[in-house]
Every structure is written in C-alpha cells, then in structure tokens.
C-alpha cells in the first residue's frame, strides 16, 4: 500500500506534461468557463447592488402608515344567510400614525432595524412666477433622514440645511422652476401657502424624484398639510434589506398599522432581480456542465492514448486504486490551474469593464468587483468539477485489462 500519493502525483503530472497541447487546451477551456462564471457573478452582483441602492437609496425598506379608511357593512351576515353588499370606497385623507412618538423607540430597539424616520408626506404645488409644478412634499428631521438616504451625499449644489422656512429641492424641479440655491419659491397645499428658501439641490438618482421632491422641516410640513404634531408614515431602514418582507409581516401581526416592505412596493423590481439571479444560476450551471464535459472528454481520450502505459504500470504492480488516483489528480490539477487562470481573466475583464464601459456622464455604469468569497467559491466549484469530470475516465482506466492494454 502506498504511504503517500507521490507516485500518483508524479505519473499524473508527467501524463499531463506529455500531452501538453491537450492539457493546455483544456486548462484554457476551464479558465474560460471560470472567467465567464466569475465575471457574470460579479457583474450581476454589482448590477443588483447598484439597482437596489438607487431604488432604496431614497426610501425606507419598510414603510409604516395608519390603516386606510374603510366602509364597514351595517351588519354581519347571519349563518346560512347570503348577503350582497355594495359599498362605495371612502375617499382617503391624510392621517397621522397614532402614537408614532412612542412607536419610534420601540422600532429602533429591534435588532434588524438600523434607523427609523418619522415623516410627513403629501402633495402640493410649487409656484414661482408663472411656473407651477406639482410636488411631493416631505417633512423630515434632516439628521434622521440623512441616516436613511445619505441626503448630504446627494447634494449637487448648496449645503443641506433645514432651518424654519428653508427647503431642499430635487435638481430637475429647481430647473423647471428656475430657482438656484438661495432663491425662494412658494409651496401651496390645499390649506396653506408658504414661502421656502432653497438651501441645496439634490440628485436622488431617479429623474421622477428629482422633478417632484421638496424636502422641508417636519414642523413646516405638518403645518402645510394640516397635521400638527403628526407623522403620515414611519420609514424604517434595515441592516439587511432582504429581511424587510419577514419583518413587515411580523409588524403587521403585532401592530394595527399598514406596513409595507420595499419588495411589496417594488414587485416588478423584485421579479426582475429574481429573474436575473435565476438566469445567472442557469448560465453558471450550463458553463460548469460544459467545463465538466470538456475535461471528461479530454481525459477519456487520454485514457485511450495512455492505454499501453496503464497496462505496463498495472503489470508492474500498480493497483487499480493508484491508477484511479492518477486520473482523478489530473482532473484536479486541470481544475485548479484552470480556476487560477480563469480568475485572473475575470479580474482583467472586470478591470476592462470599469475602465472602458462608461455612461454618458463619463463615469463607470456601475461599480463591479470580484469579492474573495465569490472567487474562492467559483474556484472551489471548478476544481471539484475537475475531479468529478475525471471520475468516469479514471474508472475506465482503472478497469483496463492489463494484458489487453499492453497489446494495444
């Protein structure tokens, strides 16, 4: 019984070196597969992270509102009675979340929650001269809001500040109104008109938001929308965005509020992300199957070519297990070398993408990197695939009849 695999290593490496063109081709094949898998993984991860960041960058992961007004039937149906009700839906009005001041610390104490933002939001008009634009009015505490959406990081002009009578405006809305930092315009709601001085223009990442958003102090919005001391919603951000759905369901069962996760508000986006993930998984699987078949086919040919050598080794007393290991090691070596080369290739592709593929603003479309964990994962899978691909050829080699193999 061999004490180490020195013999198997030596024979495996020599066999690979002997058929160096075949070996080189299959290593390049594995490298191409690994590069595609690693690059696509990095690309999709980067794309999804960017999409999520842009989508969730200006909103909470969970939104808690007061429940909608509904019409209650005059009386419940009796057992065995069939009753037809026809009710007119009630017009919804802005309402404050009941006891929101007490709810905020309770939510903030939850381990999943990173920040809670009480907010007053409603619609109105922005007026300046003859210009008139419909707006989404947000009343916030600037420091809390900044923790959720990093508002100060989105400032393109001016300094984010919300003293009484001041406001922050989306940059496209500012262009439509013809205002710059320091200028004033009027915010009109159904109840009140109030003059607002612009302290900063922001780019919220989505054009529609940039064309409609006006951010004012919480108290100013409460006055404008007729909700003194109120908050129309609590925006909650989480450490892990993917826990939003579970936590929203939990909050719905515990509190009498309308709770919505970002997934429910962006169902199409979630579907698109899921479709992307599934497609990426399919592509990765197909590429790995191709890699396995490539390695296996080359090793099968190698077994046929090396038939006589296998026969000689068997005649000399090499065991079936040793022959099996010789070919499994060849698969592993090809898998590992192909993985290393493939990862280098993937890094080069990522570098090329971030340096040469740019948007109209001259900046990279989005940032992609190849995390170590993903790289090691892909390399490990490819190496295991190399060994798996070698199983059938190795078994065939080990099962060869030595007398027949020598005669080949």
């Amino acid at each position: 019984m061999a004490k180490s695999f020195g013999f198997e290593w030596l024979v495996a490496l020599r066999f690979l070196r002997e058929g160096r063109m075949q070996t080189l081709l299959i290593i390049v094949g594995v490298a191409a597969g690994v590069a595609v898998v690693a690059y696509i993984s990095a690309l999709i991860t980067g794309l999804q992270a960017t999409t999520l960041n842009k989508t969730l960058g200006a909103q909470g992961h969970i939104t808690l509102r007061s429940p909608q007004d509904v019409v209650q039937p005059a009386r419940a149906s009796l057992p065995g009675e069939v009753a037809w009700f026809e009710t007119q839906p009630r017009a919804q009005r802005l309402r404050s979340v009941v006891n929101w001041q007490m709810l905020v610390p309770v939510l903030e104490a939850m381990p999943e929650v990173s920040a809670v933002l009480p907010m007053v939001s409603g619609s109105g008009l922005a007026l300046r001269g003859e210009a008139q634009q419909s707006i989404a009015l947000l009343g916030v505490d600037l420091d809390r809001y900044d923790r959720i959406v990093d508002l100060r990081g989105k400032v393109v002009s001016g300094v984010a500040r919300l003293a009484p009578g001041e406001g922050i405006v989306g940059r496209d809305l500012a262009a439509d109104l013809g205002v710059r930092v320091g200028d004033r315009f009027t915010v009109q709601t159904g109840l009140v008109n109030e003059s607002v001085r612009v302290t900063a223009l922001v780019d919220l990442g989505v054009r529609d938001l940039n064309r409609r958003t006006v951010i004012v102090p919480l108290r100013a919005a409460q006055n404008l929308l007729g909700l003194p001391g109120g908050a129309t919603n609590l925006d909650i951000t989480l450490f892990d965005v993917w826990t939003a759905q579970t936590l929203a369901e939990d909050l719905r069962t515990r509190y009498p509020y309308k709770v919505e996760s970002w997934q429910e508000n962006n169902a199409q986006l979630v579907s698109a992300l899921n479709a992307q993930s599934v497609s990426t998984g399919i592509i990765r699987s197909v590429v790995m199957v191709v890699v396995v078949l490539g390695i296996a086919s080359v090793l099968v040919v190698s077994v046929v070519q090396k038939g006589r050598e296998i026969g000689i080794l068997r005649a000399m007393g090499t065991t079936r297990a040793q022959i099996l290991r010789v070919f499994l090691l060849q698969g592993a070596v090809v898998g590992v070398l192909g993985s290393v080369l493939g990862l280098l290739l993937a890094v080069a592709l990522i570098w090329a993408f971030t340096h040469f593929v740019k948007g109209s603003d001259g900046l990279p479309l989005f940032n992609i990197t190849l995390p170590w964990r993903v790289a090691l994962n892909v390399a490990a899978v490819a190496s295991v695939c190399g060994v798996l691909a070698a199983i059938a050829p190795a078994r065939r080699a080990a099962a060869m009849d030595p007398a027949q193999a020598i005669r080949l």
Partner: protein, 249 residues
C-alpha cells in the same frame, strides 16, 4: 529458510486450460492442459509458432490473465481465485516483465523508468534505491544515459533499461516476451548476454519467449508450445545452484 523456499518449486502449473469467449458459439480453447514446473534459478526458453498460445501462457504466468481451469502454484501459493488486489500484490512482489517493444514510459527518463517500481510501492524513492537504480543502469551499460528519455535511446538501449526496471526489486521471476524480437542481431546478442549475466549474478529465474532457435539453444531448458500443448520440455530442469554451476553463455 532460504533453502526451504528454494526447495519449493517457483512455479507449478497443473492442467491449465484457457478458453476465450466462454459460453459463446465462438468459444476457443487456446491452452489445452498445460503442466509445467519451474524451479528457482532456471533460465528457460519458451518457443512455439505464432498462435500457439505463448503469450497467453506468459500472461497467465504473469498474473495478467486468469486461467479457465487448472491450478497455478506460485512459490507454493495457489493463484487461482485471488482477486485483482491479490494478483497485483503478487505481481509486485514476485514478477518482473520485459516486453518485446520495450514498453518504457515515454514521459520518464531512463533512471525514472527504473525507479518506478520502488516509487510505486513507497510513493517516493529512497537515496539507497536511487543509487541501486543508478548501479543497475551502469550494470546494463547505460551509465551516461540516466537522464535520457526513451525516445533518445536506441532499441537495444531501451530494452536494457526495461531489463534494469524488471530486476529493480530483485523479483524471483522475470518473464520476458520476445525481448530480442525487435532488435538487430548484434543488439539481440547483447541483450541475451545481459539476461544470462543477471541470471548468473542474481539467481533470478528467467522465462524467455523467443522465436530465435539459436538463442533458445543457449538457454538451460527449452519448452515448445504447439497448438496450446507443451510438446517438448528439454534441458536440465534443475534448481538454481545446479544451473548456476553449469551455466554457459
């Protein structure tokens, strides 16, 4: 102990039959009841026309092919019924092979080819084994060719490397299948002289399959196989010390 071991014949074949395609209409019997005893230290030629079953008999002796019926005692141990692992172990411990077409591993140097049997057992080659392999190569006249690959060696040189490899672990029996069949006359003679010398110096039993009647005459014992039957068994058939004392080249 050594004497007791040598008192037991190295090989005893009794009623060896070998058929191919068993149970099929094309079933063919190649060997028809071979009885043969080889003592330690014999130098035996096995002759016979093509298709007489020489290679089959050699494969059975070399534990590369199973017999259909019969009994094969190798150093007193019955080989019939051993599984592949058992047969592989006996091949490793007892047998050396020299093939007609040298059958060296082309990816390895001459020295590596010779050390392969030791490497196969331990997974590495000790300094002592490496020196032994170098000595063997020097002994077969290839002192300067240690690091040459088979493709860089002549046919005769390759065959000498194959012989060094076959005796690397000092097996009691070396089976040589037409070791000179692919060589010119001068190289054939050199190889044969080498085999005889190794036999004389190391006491290894040689069974040499050959078509060359002149070489066969220079063996101590000659077997002739015709149509799967041993027709002639001529020679001394003695044990190693007797043969060594009367061995002539």
């Amino acid at each position: 102990m050594q004497q007791a071991q040598e008192a037991t014949p190295l090989i005893v074949l009794k009623g060896i039959h070998k058929s191919y395609n068993l149970g099929l209409p094309s079933q063919t019997e190649v060997l028809h009841g071979i009885d043969l005893t080889l003592a330690h230290g014999e130098f035996v030629a096995l002759m016979g026309p093509s298709g007489s079953g020489k290679s089959t008999l050699l494969n059975i002796l070399g534990l590369l092919e199973p017999m259909t019926t019969g009994s094969y005692l190798l150093q007193g141990e019955e080989m019939r019924g051993l599984n592949d692992a058992g047969l592989t172990l006996r091949r490793r411990q007892t047998l050396g092979f020299v093939f007609q077409f040298h059958h060296l591993l082309p990816a390895f140097t001459a020295l590596e080819n010779v050390t392969l049997p030791a490497m196969m057992i331990n997974g590495q080659v000790s300094a002592q084994q490496l020196q032994h392999a170098r000595d063997l190569l020097a002994d077969v006249g290839l002192a300067g060719a240690e690091h040459k690959r088979p493709a860089e060696l002549s046919g005769g040189m390759q065959q000498r490397v194959a012989i060094a490899r076959a005796v690397m672990l000092d097996p009691p029996l070396v089976l040589a299948d037409e070791p000179t069949g692919n060589l010119d006359q001068a190289a054939s003679s050199e190889v044969f002289v080498l085999l005889r010398r190794l036999h004389a110096e190391r006491g290894i039993t040689f069974l040499v399959v050959t078509h060359d009647a002149h070489l066969a005459e220079r063996c101590d014992r000659r077997l002739e196989l015709v149509d799967g039957r041993l027709h002639t068994d001529s020679g001394m058939g003695g044990t190693h010390p007797e043969i060594l004392s009367s061995s002539t080249l």
